[in-house]
């Protein structure tokens, strides 16, 4: 044999290569099939299938002169022959066959490297296999002594290796004619021993990867399907893809030229060329598509082994295994998926005893599913195990310095769970051989990030864990938005782009600046902005972006605006990887050649997000935007820090500030002893925080503009310092007018100003004067108001009155919060609200037995005798006009005193 290999070296090399590919595939299938077989030991079709695969491997090994492999395969085949003969299928026996397959794989790896079978013997395994087969002889149905069968087959094979090959079809037929287990077993052995050698160069039909959970797939594994497919070298496909990419580029180039020549004879043929190219592109892309089941193929075996190793009963369900995706993507998610399934089995699922104790089915389930959703594939890995241990993650995050105690306190469970994606984060109490080898979810997340995907986790303690992975269908050709920045063009992947906003000085959307950070107020949200030119270090970022386009981009939960100078069009681009020399630039994910032949960089939204996170950390670290959306008051407040009149910093909740302006001091007019400025076609009164503030008569004068109900007021300040997210905890009350009290902001004692005090200074009828606040022991208060303005405006007032305030935007929300066990000492509610109004809320609260005693204060902008009467009926303790802060604070005090008395 060895001699034959040397003389026909290249022919044999090819053959060996093909053998390796085929055998590896066959072995993977055997893995899957065996696990399935163990579950359905009576399924003759599965057994036939396994038997045939192993037999083919054995035959081919003989042909290629690989005695070690051949002996192994032979021993395994003998044992499986026993199964066919009716020997009961035990887990032990299957484990033995599986370890034989593992050994075979090891040998194949060495074979691939050295072209030679590695030295060594497998007598241990072969002995065990033979022993197991012999035991079969002692079984109730000892049809034929196992040993003699084995020898017989072996000998015949040796002799008939090269000449007289039998076609695979005949072999198939032989097997097909072979009856299932327990019937006519004596005939079965010789029948398959004769057609011992299939043509070695004839490919074994690749068995399509299937979810073992499906049971209707037996039919598909027969020759028919296989004959319709051919094996193509991956390099050939890759090359084809590259050529198509080139074709797409050339087509784009031609189209580009065509745009400049309106009348041309080329127009029609070019149009056709374009269509054909598009179809070709689609076709070639399809050849790269593989069912995700290919990535799952190894999982049943892994789960089976884990199940044995960990002593847990685990069922692996797989749905949507035929969902197709680009093989490049497939390769990249294979390992992460395996890792996650291991994790679920090891850490997620409880032990049998724990499960029984928890009243769960004894058998734990891991469910994999995949489906398409708008250009993405969604893969979910769910288990019904114990879920994430929030407390442990919290501890670990603290220990690893990922967050401070204060930060963690404010986080929701879901936010805390996200820490598992942080580098080096593993909560497994003990490191097992299964997982917890120092690589964790961060690696998974990295792999997924690299292919432009995202990963999310959803866990319910005691009920299970669900990972959701969202990945693009393909990496090769993507749709991108072509933009301009600093005179160069860049591509931004369309998938990350949410919308485009055009800004100029007079447009509705304007770029505002808060100290160094530019923000866009878009539909009542502050969107952090970052200039592409600044990110790319074309400029220092000093120039205020006054006009341009904002590409609103979303990466995970983070939304930000990328400011660009111009937007061209969207184009299907072929992603080419960056040269290794440039790969360290996190801002780009690749480059591409445009239709006009120019090379441009593809901006990586993930990279931008990271950079943005660093510069606008305040807005990204704490997703209070989302929290504010749902109405549940964010535990932190965005504060605008400024200086006015004294060097000590002052702050005001940012959400109260409508705009930041810088006006020319010379435009300030004095009318009726009041400072005014013409602002948006109206006269806007200017107010000073105290007499120490000088209103400039020249140069730029910064203003904080507060608007409500069509009226605006400008608060004159000396300097805008910063914008920060801090929990607004007014620690020291103030008896100075216009100051609510002091809080620690940016580690510095900062005066929190009371906007409510200044508004009436501008318009006498706006509000009434300031109220001295007294800090009291914290009581919890639920504040319901549909107007964001009033929520923001009154929350500090209520806080200053000594309450821990939770503000929500609607009655329904308040009610569900109360019903779900939220404990509040006091409810303050607006009366006029869309949907359920304040009256209805009060009635609903009164109906709840355990809430009946809670005092309710109604706020209303009007107070008719009827409404006050109705308020009494539904059980309001007090009824305060919305603008009457004094009465509100008095009412709060009264309630507190009442509660103190009651206590």
């Amino acid at each position: 044999m060895a001699g034959a290999r040397r003389t026909k070296a290249s022919y044999m090399d090819d053959l060996l290569q093909e053998f390796l590919t085929e055998t590896n595939e066959s072995l993977d299938t055997v893995d899957v099939e065996l696990v399935r077989f163990e579950q359905e030991p009576n399924n003759a079709k599965i057994l036939d299938n396994i038997f045939r695969l192993v037999h083919t491997i054995k035959g081919t090994c003989g042909f290629l002169g690989l005695p070690r492999l051949q002996k192994l395969a032979h021993a395994a085949e003998s044992l499986m022959g026993k199964f066919r003969d009716g020997m009961p299928v035990t887990g032990e026996a299957v484990t033995l066959v599986l370890s034989t397959i593992d050994r075979t794989k090891d040998i194949l790896v060495a074979l691939e490297k050295t072209q030679l079978e590695p030295a060594g013997d497998d007598n241990d395994l072969i002995g065990a296999l033979d022993k197991m087969a012999l035991q079969a002889a002692a079984q109730p149905r000892p049809i034929q002594p196992g040993q003699s069968v084995g020898t017989l087959v072996h000998q015949i094979l040796e002799r008939t290796l090269r000449p007289g090959e039998v076609t695979l079809d005949e072999l198939e037929r032989a097997f097909r004619e072979t009856p299932g287990p327990a019937t006519q077993p004596a005939k079965a052995m010789p029948a398959k021993a004769v057609p011992s050698k299939p043509a070695p160069s004839k490919p074994i039909p690749p068995i399509p990867a299937k979810a073992p959970a499906e049971s209707d797939d037996e039919e598909r594994s027969d020759g028919k399907t296989a004959n319709q497919s051919i094996r193509v070298n991956l390099d050939t496909l890759e090359h084809l893809m590259t050529m198509v990419s080139e074709l797409v580029l050339t087509r784009n180039q031609l189209l580009d030229i065509m745009r400049r020549h309106v009348e041309s004879d080329f127009k029609v043929p070019l149009q056709r060329l374009s269509n054909v190219t598009a179809e070709l592109q689609e076709g070639v892309m399809k050849t790269r598509m593989q069912p995700i089941g290919n990535a799952w193929q190894k999982l049943p075996r892994i789960v089976r082994d884990l199940s044995a190793e960990l002593g847990k009963d685990i069922e692996l369900e797989m749905h949507g295994a035929d969902t197709e995706l680009d093989r490049q993507v497939l390769e990249r998610i294979k390992d992460p998926l395996t890792h996650m399934v291991r994790n679920s089995a090891d850490h997620g699922l409880e032990t049998r005893a724990e499960r029984i104790a928890a009243g769960k089915p004894e058998k734990g389930t891991i469910r994999l599913s995949a489906y398409h959703q708008g250009g993405h594939i969604i893969i979910s890995i769910a288990d019904d195990g114990r879920g994430l241990d929030t407390a442990r993650i919290r501890e670990k995050a603290l220990a690893n310095g990922l967050a401070t105690e204060a930060e963690i306190e404010k986080m929701s469970e879901a936010q805390i769970h996200k820490f598992i994606f942080a580098p080096g984060f593993s909560t497994a109490a003990k490191i097992t051989s299964v997982s917890g080898r120092g690589v964790g979810m961060d690696v998974v997340r990295n792999n997924i990030d690299q292919i432009g995907g995202s990963c999310d986790v959803n866990s319910v303690r005691g009920e299970g864990l669900n990972f959701t992975i969202k990945i693009p269908l393909t990496l090769a050709i993507i749709s991108a938005l072509i933009v301009e920045a600093g005179g160069d063009r860049f591509a931004i992947p369309q998938l990350a782009v949410v919308e485009l906003v055009r800004v100029h000085a007079k447009s509705e959307h304007r770029i505002e600046r808060i100290k160094d950070a530019a923000v866009l107020r878009l539909r009542n949200k502050l969107l952090p902005l970052v200039r592409l030119t600044t990110l790319l270090k074309f400029d220092s970022g000093d120039a205020a972006p006054e006009r341009g386009f904002i590409v609103v981009t979303q990466v995970g939960a983070q939304t930000f605006g990328i400011v660009v100078d111009g937007v061209y069009h969207t184009e299907e681009i072929v992603v080419k990887p960056m040269s290794t020399m440039l790969r360290h630039i996190g801002m780009f994910s690749g480059n591409t050649i445009l239709g006009d032949g120019a090379v441009i960089m593809i901006v990586d939204p993930n990279g931008v997000a990271q950079e943005t996170g660093a510069t606008v950390a305040a807005n990204t670290l704490i997703p209070d935007q989302a929290a504010a959306d749902t109405g549940r008051a964010a535990d932190t407040t965005s504060l605008l820090v400024f200086r006015a009149g004294s060097p000590a910093p002052k702050a005001v909740p940012l959400s109260l500030v409508t705009r930041l302006e810088e006006i020319d001091g010379s435009t300030i007019e004095l009318s009726n002893d009041r400072h005014m400025v013409q602002y948006r076609g109206q006269l806007m009164p200017l107010v000073r925080i105290n007499d120490d503030v000088r209103i400039k008569s020249e140069g730029t004068q910064p203003l904080l503009v507060f608007s409500d109900g069509g009226r605006s007021m400008g608060l004159v300040v000396d300097e805008i310092v910063d914008i920060v997210d801090e929990s607004l905890d007014i620690q020291v009350g103030s008896d100075r007018q216009g100051i609510l009290g002091s809080a620690v902001v940016r580690g510095q004692a900062t005066e929190i100003i009371d906007v409510g005090h200044f508004l009436p200074l501008a318009y006498d009828d706006w509000f009434r004067g300031g109220e001295r606040v007294v800090h009291q022991s914290a009581r919890t208060l639920l504040f319901v108001d549909d107007s964001a303005f009033f929520r923001n405006m009154l929350t500090p007032v209520l806080k200053a009155a000594g309450y821990e305030v939770t503000a929500v935007a609607g009655a329904n929300e308040a009610l569900s919060l109360l019903k779900s066990g939220g404990r509040f000492d006091l409810l303050v509610t607006d009366l006029e609200m869309p949907g359920m109004d304040g009256f209805a809320l009060a009635e609903a609260v009164r109906d709840e037995a355990n809430l009946a005693g809670m005092p309710i204060i109604a706020l209303s902008s009007y107070s008719s005798p009827e409404s006050i009467e109705r308020g009494r009926e539904v059980g309001f303790h007090d009824y305060v006009a919305k603008f009457d802060r004094q009465s509100l604070v008095a009412a709060l005090k009264e309630q507190s005193a009442e509660m103190d008395r009651a206590a």
Binding site: E246, L249, T250, D488, L536, K537, F538, K576, S579, T580, M581, L582, H584, I585, M587, F588, N591, I593, G597, A598, V599, I600, M601
Partner: protein, 156 residues
């Protein structure tokens, strides 16, 4: 490595000669893929200073390395002609920007002498030896070292 021709007992190597600044350099011809005039160079923001940009050469994206910058020479005056030597490294295409490309010269390997101790250290990093010509020195560039900019990239 380098293409060797066996004549008698001597091994010969052919060099593509290029001029960078005022100095003559040689690159082993076996490493040179093609010579081209760089066109439509796209700057790569945030790239190491040696990377002049990227360009499209017959559908391939080529990373252009400015050899003047790589060798710490003065910047090329604008309008001055520039040529590029195409190099393939591990499946990626690079273009070394030089001032001019000269003829291909063949030398016996024995003609290539060790780098003089006093060779500018910035050049010594990327040179594998020197060849004495009539009236001038030809510095033989080691393409792998020229393209190995890891240390530089980190420092930058």
């Amino acid at each position: 490595m380098t293409k060797k021709t066996d004549t008698a007992s001597e091994q010969f190597t052919e060099y593509v000669t290029v001029i960078i600044g005022d100095q003559l350099f040689g690159l082993s011809i076996s490493r040179v893929q093609d010579v081209f005039i760089p066109d439509r160079l796209t700057k790569v923001p945030l790239a190491p200073p040696e990377v002049a940009g990227v360009l499209n050469l017959r559908g391939r994206i080529v990373t252009a390395i400015d050899m003047r910058s790589r060798l710490d020479l003065d910047k090329r005056a604008s309008g001055q002609p520039v040529m590029a030597i195409g190099i393939d490294l591990r499946g990626e295409s690079y273009g070394l920007l030089v001032d001019a490309v000269g003829e291909v010269l063949k030398f016996p390997d024995s003609a290539c002498e060790a780098k003089p101790a006093n060779l500018d250290p910035r050049w010594a990093r990327v040179a594998s030896g020197v060849i004495r010509l009539e009236g001038q020195l030809l510095v033989v560039l080691d393409v792998d070292r020229v393209l190995d900019m890891r240390k530089r990239a980190i420092a930058a």
